[in-house]
């Protein structure tokens, strides 16, 4: 069959090669992480590395099977697969097994699978299917609602399982939407919100609002330097400040300076908007809105942080932002992880010579903290190779996605790239203390059948789509 032969020549072997290398590296690092002198055989299936070998074998079979299936299958059954996974996610809420405080496992015989892992590729399929429908327009309100539903319904179910990390992954689809035409403003505001979130927690309110006030004035000044409009802006702010301060003082309300400043931005902002609408100064309206929004958001974050987050979540975020340091408590994991990686030096301590990982100083070292073993035993040389391998993979995937003829394949390809990237970013960022401790696996590396299979399926569906990119898909 000529088409079969074409399949094997059209597969992107570079991606397959990187995949195989990463899986292999993951496996030997798992071996090193749980290695002990009593169980030396790398094939001992009572040990994690033995089991991982089984998962790898199964994953390769799955990958092979995926490649054999006709491309149209994935297009046709996108929604069905999505539906099935949603059912699993609902099912696990009622009948799941609790591990590490999250109810996310389904035990089948001796094995346990984690439906949340499979939610990612299913969502990617559904999203690709929906967005590649003929006549689809992203800018339509209902389109956005449906996209929001497709993405966040599984995320919400996963959140209900108390698996925050896996749920956060779904936010990364915003990058796909951006690629498909979502306004850059959304991305800008998403970044702004993230920045404000961090600043609200790190900076004291006084510094934050003083900074915002200064920044607002500066922006107004830069946009319309030396005009009477800027002078008016000054008047609005000064008036608002004097008014609020006077009221606060006379009525003995007892607000601090930072709150008067916040009020000044809000009240002055209202005045500026009224003024700029009247004078048709669109930019001033926009700036005023951005800064008013920032103040409101920051106030909300403070409130939400204090009142809505669980103490352990607050602690993890605080630890990351360096607000509270508790190396033997909440920060223990990250601290030990940094010690393990840092102690590797340039060339590492050598295979199986890691002391931090071998003697269990690093928790979860074969799953979420597998990167520690790389860092300790292979040093900077090893971590550099791994990071570069991942980067090559991601860039290659974007390249592959861009060469697709069908929207379905492209959207799915982007989804694969950004999902893998998100795991990479959060996982490695966590182990070196640049991200909060969010328990998500490092793709292809971390121990665990579900995640390996899920990532394999995710990747190989795209490779299959890519291999037949020249064929006409049915839509």
């Amino acid at each position: 069959m000529p088409r079969r032969n074409q399949l094997w020549t059209n597969i992107d072997w570079l991606t397959v090669f990187i995949y195989l290398v990463l899986v292999f590296l993951g496996w030997i690092n798992i071996y090193a992480a749980v290695y002990d002198a009593e169980h030396q055989s790398i094939f001992d299936i009572s040990q994690r590395y033995g089991k991982q070998l089984l998962w790898i074998g199964a994953a390769l079979l799955i990958a092979f099977a995926i490649l054999l299936i006709e491309t149209n299958f994935y297009v046709f059954f996108s929604y069905a697969i999505y539906g099935a996974v949603i059912l699993l996610l609902v099912f696990v809420l009622f009948a799941g097994n609790e591990v590490n405080n999250s109810k996310s496992w389904i035990a089948i015989g001796g094995f346990a699978i984690q439906p949340a892992e499979f939610g990612k590729f299913a969502t990617a399929l559904a999203l690709a299917k929906y967005m590649s429908t003929f006549g689809f327009k992203l800018q339509r309100f209902w389109s956005l609602v449906i996209i929001g539903f497709i993405i966040f319904f599984p995320a919400a179910l996963i959140l209900l399982q108390n698996d925050t990390g896996s749920a956060l992954v779904y936010f990364v689809f915003v990058l796909v939407l951006y690629r498909e035409g979502l306004s850059g403003v959304v991305l800008f505001f998403a970044t702004l919100i993230g920045l404000m979130f961090i600043l609200s927690l790190v900076l004291s309110e006084l510094v934050l609002f003083a900074l915002l006030s200064g920044l607002a004035l500066l922006t107004f000044f830069v946009v319309r330097a030396g005009t009477k409009h800027f002078f008016k802006v000054l008047l609005f702010f000064a008036g608002a400040f004097i008014l609020l301060a006077a009221v606060n003082y006379l009525a003995r309300l007892g607000y601090q300076v930072e709150h008067v400043l916040a009020g000044m931005i809000l009240l002055g902002g209202v005045g500026i908007i009224a003024y700029s609408m009247h004078n048709k100064l669109k930019s001033y309206t926009l700036i005023a809105l951005v800064f008013m929004g920032s103040v409101l958001f920051s106030l909300t974050v403070d409130y939400a942080f204090d009142n809505l987050l669980e103490p352990y979540q607050q602690a993890r975020i605080n630890e990351l932002l360096g607000i509270e340091s508790d190396p033997l408590g909440v920060g223990y994991n990250v601290n030990q992880s940094k010690i393990a990686i840092g102690s590797g030096g340039f060339w590492g301590k050598g295979f199986l010579n890691g002391t931090q990982t071998k003697f269990n100083f690093v928790p979860e070292q074969s799953t979420d903290f597998i990167f520690c073993t790389v860092g300790e035993e292979w040093g900077f040389a090893g971590t550099l190779v791994v990071v570069l391998l991942f980067l090559t993979l991601f860039v290659r995937l974007i390249f592959l996605a861009e060469r697709q003829r069908s929207g379905f394949s492209r959207i799915y390809g982007y989804s694969v790239a950004v999902i893998l990237f998100f795991h990479f970013m959060v996982n490695i960022g966590m182990t070196i203390g640049m991200m909060p401790v969010i328990g998500i696996p490092l793709p292809f590396f971390s121990y665990g059948g579900s995640s390996l299979w899920a990532f394999t399926i995710l990747l190989f569906i795209f490779l299959r789509l890519d291999a037949s990119r020249l064929d006409h898909l049915s839509n």
Partner: protein, 605 residues
């Protein structure tokens, strides 16, 4: 149709930027920042200290004085502790439940991961029982230490004791770590560096639960403990024991020196204590008890008490005058006994009299005239005085001798400034400071200095800095103890003085107490005026007259005349040291001295 394909570059940009940030972060963490390597080592290495046995201490004849006995510390790693039978453990260790809980809390506060000592110095007997049941107490383990043990209940003030290092020790010497032992006083302190040996360190790899996983690098980096060097002291333990026995129930001190070497043969500060009292778990309680004792047993009188030398000082004034030529062997001064002025004599005797008789009679007027001749020899009184002071100091008086025993006192020889301040410059003369002529007034001398002064006379003009250690295994003692210190008096001036001293022992009313059959001892009594109560008795002596083997000083506080209290004790010690036994004819002296109880105020004297 695809208007947004450029946006792929932004996404690639995000990927690459993240990658660069990670690589930079990893480079900093792994290559630039060394702190994590240190943390890693601290994480996995448990260093188990191998404590060496302290060096043994022998007396001059090779008798073992101090050795070591095993003791055990109980350590706890709070993190590993599981529930256990506290009552049983407390009973076994003989501590209260509250005390034990307090210690456990303290250990927990120190560190939950690192072991800390919870009970120190458990006896081998208790340890034997504990060791068998230790498996029931998870998180507890023992380590072996050694404690000092003393063969003789003697020489506490020479040997000193060993205690735990304090904060300043830790700061001063990085060798020590918390909980280590260190010599606190005596030769244990002076010779700490030799006695302590060298700690060894065994490195083990531990896992996160602090369980030992094996040796580190197959023990390549382990160091073995080196046993401390043995010391041979100059102490003659028999003499020491005998001296302590004689000083029982008395307050005072004995210092005996071998004049030809400066080696301290015996050093007693009475009352003393059993050195074993300051060892092990009882040390704290015993130490406070000794500290609270009104007789101050911890106070080392032999080195730290300062008394006016009294009449023992008369030889020195005479020697200075002879050396200066302000008197000679034909000089005679008259004495009117207690009617003499400006200084009375204690009794009537032949008058006028020369050097030899003046020493024998301890004649105050003779010494006043002699002293005046020295002071007046100078252009001014101050001039003469300063000249006199130089001579006095050449005998090691007025400043620390620099022995190897710690906390020695300076003694006191007043300075010109002192008198200038007191009387005004040029407004004092020999008469003003006349009490110096008979060893009273501002003079202060320690028993060690008195013994050394005696040795200098015995040597006819030189001494060696007194020291208590004869040799250190494998090493000679410091040069300073092997260097002759010359006094400013020429040898020929000593003979007439020594004649007088011999006559003190053989030809006075008190000779019955101190004359030793078959031995020529030369000595001098002193009675130290004591404004607070009964006078202190002092006696210095050396023997035999030719080729002296022992020089000695004895102080007995609040007893009265030197001749009746201090001299007999000194003579018994000299006899014991030189003859190894007390002659039959003198056992009554021995009995009298042994039975004398100066602490019991009701006993008649």
């Amino acid at each position: 149709m695809d208007t947004f394909s450029k946006r792929g570059y932004l996404i690639i940009g995000i990927f690459v930027l993240t990658g660069i940030i990670f690589i930079a972060g990893l480079f900093r963490l792994q290559v630039l920042d060394p702190t994590y390597k240190v943390f890693a080592t601290n994480n996995v290495l448990r260093e188990i200290v191998q404590y060496p046995a302290r060096g043994l201490i022998y007396d001059r004849n090779g008798n073992l004085l101090v050795h070591n006995k095993p003791a055990y510390d109980l350590l706890v790693t709070p993190r590993e502790v599981a529930e256990f039978d506290t009552t049983y453990l407390c009973n076994l260790l003989e501590i209260t439940l509250d005390d034990f809980k307090g210690r456990l809390d303290a250990a927990r506060e120190y560190s939950r991961y690192k072991p800390s000592i919870i009970v120190k110095q458990i006896s081998p007997e208790t340890y034997a029982v504990l060791q068998e049941r230790l498996y029931r107490f998870r998180g507890f383990h023992t380590q072996s230490r050694t404690l000092r043990e003393y063969k003789y209940p003697a020489a506490a003030h020479v040997l000193g004791y060993v205690g735990e290092v304090n904060q300043s020790d830790l700061k001063e010497d990085s060798y020590y770590s918390q909980g280590d032992y260190i010599g606190v006083s005596g030769i244990e302190k002076t010779y700490e560096k030799w006695l302590r040996g060298e700690k060894g360190i065994k490195k083990f790899l531990v896992d996160v639960h602090n369980r030992i996983q094996g040796s580190f690098l197959n023990g390549e980096e382990d160091t073995h403990a080196t046993v401390g060097n043995n010391l041979t002291t100059s102490i003659d333990i028999e003499l020491q024991l005998y001296a302590e026995k004689l000083m029982e129930n008395k307050i005072g001190s004995v210092v005996a020196i071998e004049p030809s070497t400066g080696e301290i043969l015996a050093l007693v500060s009475a009352p003393s204590y059993h050195p074993g009292m300051l060892v092990g778990r009882v040390r704290g309680a015993n130490y406070s008890r000794l500290l609270a004792d009104t007789l101050k047993p911890l106070f080392n009188r032999a080195l730290q008490a300062e008394y006016p030398p009294g009449s023992t000082f008369k030889m020195l004034n005479t020697l200075i005058a002879l050396q200066e030529g302000t008197i000679n062997l034909h000089t005679r001064f008259s004495c009117d006994g207690p009617e003499s002025r400006p200084i009375r004599c204690t009794h009537y005797h032949v008058s006028p009299l020369g050097v030899v008789d003046a020493i024998r009679e301890s004649c105050n007027p003779f010494l006043w005239n002699t002293f005046r001749s020295i002071i007046n020899h100078g252009e001014t009184a101050a001039d003469g005085f300063n000249h006199w002071k130089e001579y006095v100091e050449s005998f090691g008086l007025g400043s620390r001798l620099g022995t190897d025993l710690v906390n020695e006192n300076n003694g006191n020889v007043p300075s010109e400034d002192y008198y200038n301040r007191y009387y005004g410059a040029g407004r004092w003369n020999a008469l003003t400071v006349r009490s110096l002529s008979i060893g009273q007034g501002e003079l202060g001398i320690t028993p060690l200095q008195l013994a050394n002064y005696s040795a200098a006379i015995a040597n006819r003009g030189y001494y060696y800095v007194p020291h208590a250690v004869k040799n250190i295994e494998g090493e000679v003692i410091s040069n300073r103890y092997r260097t002759k210190v010359e006094t400013a008096i020429s040898p020929e001036h000593f003979e007439p003085i020594i004649d007088g001293m011999q006559m003190v022992v053989e030809n006075t009313n008190a000779s019955v107490f101190m004359r030793i059959p078959g031995l020529t001892m030369c000595g001098k009594t002193g009675t130290v005026q004591n404004p607070h109560g009964k006078d202190h008795a002092a006696f210095m002596a050396f023997a035999p007259r030719e080729n002296p083997q022992i020089a000695i000083s004895v102080y007995v506080e609040n007893s009265g005349y030197g001749s009746t209290f201090a001299a007999p004790i000194a003579s018994l010690l000299v006899e014991k040291y030189l003859n190894r036994e007390i002659a039959e004819s003198r056992t009554w002296v021995e009995t009298r001295m042994l039975e004398m109880d100066l602490l019991n105020r009701n006993q008649s004297r």
